[in-house]
């Protein structure tokens, strides 16, 4: 009996010893280095998916891998963050908070967090100046569009509801608001459409609004019947911009089913500098221009009169591969497809544009991956940073400092 008890005590002691020598000693010990760029990398199969920001010093050269180098953001951020000046701004809808964060010492550091619940989700954002962020989103009911003006230094918030919206037609019950919001000529421009929340059918009409700032009253409305989709310039995606001439472009790539069962077109629209309404002389059906269906969520200005647009290799929802094309902005014609770049797997904001160059993080699913660089000045594609493969997606590419 005594012997038996001794054995128990021994095993218990062994168990305690095991528990004592645990924790982080066994983990990798790579010291964090301040990085210039962050590649948002997803890892693993669902439900064991983890999200990391892989820090790199250059997108143009060298090689990198995630091992020991990824800032784990699985429980702190997601790739809907808004990035500017080395900070991330993140509206966490499930926790009802807006936060300002910084990557520091290999971890996410909280600068400030405030309670925030004004939208059911962030639909779009734009910057008024370096210190003023405007965000829009649907009210919880779906029957109004709310806004928030945020002082990004103090996170002081002014919020309210956009007035003068077009009425919701009979048979439809809620608004959808596009993230294709831009600040131009002292006003905000964005679009809305209407949806039947029971059948999810969209009303086939695009309403594009000029909205006063900071009063948020609709001052001008223009419509178009050729699409019922919206763009999305939330944190996740980028489908609108104001170019060097001061003209606004946006892509309605986020499209649903119409009441007759068809899908509406994915179109590019323009609002000229000094104008409050859609440019009726400008309409680009993305699928016609590219010969491919535009992908949801990526249409960026390159400068030099060009824009980069992501397209689906195969038409329809079951498509899993994506390519890139260059458009002549003023004509809406395709200049060429970037055939040098292998088709990549799905991702969201995997392109970073700087100084006329597009840096494209492509997860080819085959062997080693690269940041591919398209130079709009020379129309040349080159291989940049080499990335060890095997990850699930590259969802963002951000300049960190």
């Amino acid at each position: 009996m005594l012997k038996f008890c001794r054995t128990f005590v021994f095993v218990l002691t062994a168990l305690s010893a095991l528990s004592g020598c645990s924790k982080k000693e066994e983990t990798s010990r790579v010291e964090p280095v301040a990085s210039s760029f962050g590649i948002w990398t997803q890892l693993g199969s669902w439900p064991n998916t983890s999200y990391y920001i892989m820090g790199v010093s250059s997108l143009s050269e060298g090689s990198t891998k995630l091992e020991g180098n990824g800032i784990d953001v699985t429980t702190t951020l997601n790739n809907s963050v808004i990035s500017r000046g080395g900070y991330y701004y993140y509206y966490n809808t499930t926790e009802g908070r807006l936060g300002k964060y910084q990557l520091k010492d290999g971890a996410v550091s909280t600068v400030k967090q405030v309670p925030f619940t004004y939208f059911s989700s962030l639909a779009g954002h734009t910057w008024i100046d370096e210190n003023t962020l405007v965000m829009i989103g649907l009210a919880a009911s779906g029957k109004a569009i709310n806004y928030a003006i945020i002082n990004t230094t103090t996170l002081a918030i002014t919020n309210g509801t956009v007035t003068g919206l077009p009425e919701i037609p009979t048979g439809y019950s809620a608004y959808r608001v596009g993230g294709d919001i831009q600040y131009k000529d002292g006003k905000l421009y964005f679009s809305t459409i209407m949806v039947n929340t029971t059948t999810y059918a969209l009303y086939k009409k695009l309403y594009t609004m000029a909205v006063s700032y900071p009063a948020f009253a609709v001052t001008q409305l223009s419509t178009d019947d050729r699409t019922a989709g919206l763009g999305n310039t939330s944190g996740y995606f980028a489908t609108s911009f104001v170019d060097e001439q001061g003209d606004m472009y946006f892509l309605t790539s986020w499209n649903g089913v119409l009441s007759d069962g068809s899908y509406s077109a994915k179109s590019i629209y323009r609002i000229k500098k000094g104008s409050d309404v859609l440019d009726t002389s400008y309409y680009v059906d993305g699928s016609v221009a590219l010969g491919k269906e535009p992908a949801a969520g990526l249409f960026m200005n390159l400068g030099n009169g060009k824009a980069i647009i992501k397209y689906q290799v195969a038409t329809g929802y079951s498509n899993t591969k994506f390519g890139y094309s260059i458009l002549n902005l003023s004509t809406g014609k395709e200049l060429r497809k970037l055939t040098e770049i292998p088709d990549g797997l799905g991702s969201e904001r995997n392109v970073y544009v700087d100084n006329g160059k597009a840096y494209i993080a492509v997860l080819s699913g085959e062997g080693t991956d690269y940041i591919w660089i398209y130079d709009s000045a020379t129309d040349k594609v080159s291989k940049g940073l080499q990335i060890q493969g095997g990850y699930t997606s590259f969802s963002r590419l951000d300049k960190l400092q």
């Binding site: 964090p32 400030k112 939208f119 929802y317 095997g390």
Partner: protein, 785 residues
Amino acid sequence: MCSKKPLFYILAVFLSLTSMGVMAQFKVTGKVSGLDGEALEGVSVKIKGRQTGTHTDSKGAYELALSKAGSYILEFSSIGYTRIEETVSATSAQPVVTLEVVLTASSVNMDEVTVHGKTETQQLREQAFAVSAIDARKLANTTADLGQVLNRSTGIKIREQGGMGSDFEFSINGLSGKSIKFFLDGIPLEIMGSAMNLNNIPINLAERIEVYKGVAPVELGSDALGGAVNIVTNKSLSNYLDVSHSYGSFQTHQGAITGQWVKPSLGLVLKGSSFFNYSLNNYLMREVEVRDFENNEFVITNARRFHDRYRSWMGQAEIGLVNKKWADVLFLGFSYTTYDKQVQTGVRQSIVYGAVTRNGTGRNLSVRYKKDGLVNGHLDVNLYATYSRDEYALADTTLRKYYWDGQYIEGNPETGSYRITQVTRPRYFTRLNANYHLAENHDLNVNYTFDQVTNETYNSLVATEDDVPGRLSKHLVGLAYQQKFWDRLTNTFMGKFYGVATDKKQYDLSLARYVPMHSFKPYVGYGLASVYKIDKNSGIKASYEHTYRLQDVNEVFGDGYQVINNLELNPESSDNLNLGGFYGRQKGSHNVYAEASTFLRKAEGFIYANQYSNNQIKYENLSNVLIRGADAEVRYNDRSGFSAMLNVTYQNALDNTRFVNNSGSGTVSATYRKKVPNQPWMFGNLDLGWGRSNVWQKASRLQVNWSTSYTHWYYRSWEGFATTNSLEIIPKQLIHNLMLAYSLENGRYNLSLEAKNLTNQLAFDNFRLQRPGRALFVKFRYFLK
């Protein structure tokens, strides 16, 4: 000449009949009664080792012919009674033997701590299957629910999201979720409604719990990929009443009553059981965020949970006849379950809810029939049929964001969707099991299960019914052949057929109307379980099964809007292997039992939702897992009343998804063969007990139990990728419980005190959701037999 032939034949037949008549002169007759003297009808009387047998009539009388003079061992058995053997000798001088037999009801003494001889649970552990068997009768005075009891077994981990009634994940050897099926007396537990969960059924309702790891017998006809838990209730045929109530921390009440009344002369049995649970679950949450309204920022503080009240009630009644010539058992039963709960958090504790509720009811009507000894004693049949209806509703009807101090600001629906989701699940379930005794030591078992459930889900704020309900029908046929050699080697060969039919309407855009969709897919599983007994107390065993978790209706057909269909979806499948051994030894007053096993699970095609770039999702076979592990348990008890149990489980679950998104080609996934995160991989339990009878008073017993649970730390995300400063781990946990129980009048009156999480450790679960700190309970139990 010809005319003489018939005469010859007649004579021959006469002589042979006569000789048979002479042989039939040897017989044994008598009467079987219970302890109270009442005659027992339908008792099986068999010659041991042969198929010759009969049953007692309504007066308890029997008559069994013997082939010749000699000694015979007779077996008397009946449902609810202890089987006995008696030796009789028939001679030419005394060809007719009279034998009166008295059967005693199967033991229902729930307090008896068996020290000697093999208990039913130990016999189960020595089966070929990898089984954890827990004798619930020994735990009748604790305030633990079945989940907490099972959590102390090898290979089992339950991760609860909170206190009483919270959602939980149950894993056996690393496989969890839909991979594990739960049964009550061999019938799926979910038939009784969504109120019946492992973590709210009081221990007093169970007699025994069996956990089949990886390989499940055909009788549990189900697509249990990772294993099955079978709760076995009291099957004795005696009168008893067990009433208990406990009260403790967080205003927790648990009441249970179970009883039975038997009229042996009529073979009439009335059974009933009920439980009631209530708890505010308002335990302290440590270091959580609340809003500082003045400065509009978050501050860290401790706060009590404020929206976590849970109530549930279950009532079950059965009336039946036993030990009739035409039926050993025929019962008609009805059950009703109901619950309502407040939901306090989302998947992380930083997602605080203050108004979300869930409630539901389940109703069930059932009939069960059993008859042994058909076809000259070769065939035993068992039939169960039921209709049940389970309904529940999840309500999220406020536009608020709550904080841990109970304050809120106006905002959005808490779960992201303003709704009252109504779910209704009518269900038909039938199980037919037949065991055919081929010859001595050779048995054939056939099991057929038909399980059909219709799933209607709609938001009652905008709809009155589900336009596109889904129907899932499973046909499961199991065939097992068991052979025994030399009383040492037992082999069970199993084959299982899985037929899954899914039906759902889908909207056809081209036709502009709903069209019915149907799919039927067959699959075949197989397995083997063997045990070799080295001697009376030790043995080695191995079991293997290729098994499935069948696809669900919504996984195949989606919802027609956001979830698109996938007719190519395959079931989750797994190859499960167990190797183990056991050793028991009794020396003097000491009794030791040890068992150890290793296991392998190669599971493929786990079904998860995959999001497409147009925001629609589709269920696909996305990931594979390879789990290797070992567990061991040692038990000791002696006559002084001391008992001890120690077990340790180690499981190494690796991501076995070679290519990203299980695409079948391309780059090898960076996490391939890496340890799966957010899963405990080493844990153990220690139980120490000491009891003494006749303390302060005759027929009393004092029992003290100490239990410790240990869970080693584990990674929240994948190992080896994150920077040191961002790597998250779930810390180790060491939780102690103490129970003191005192019984009077041989266990009729019982009073127990229990302290859970005695040292008030910070206990976590999935995603670091905090669990209750120290909690105290007192329980009174009255047991009449």
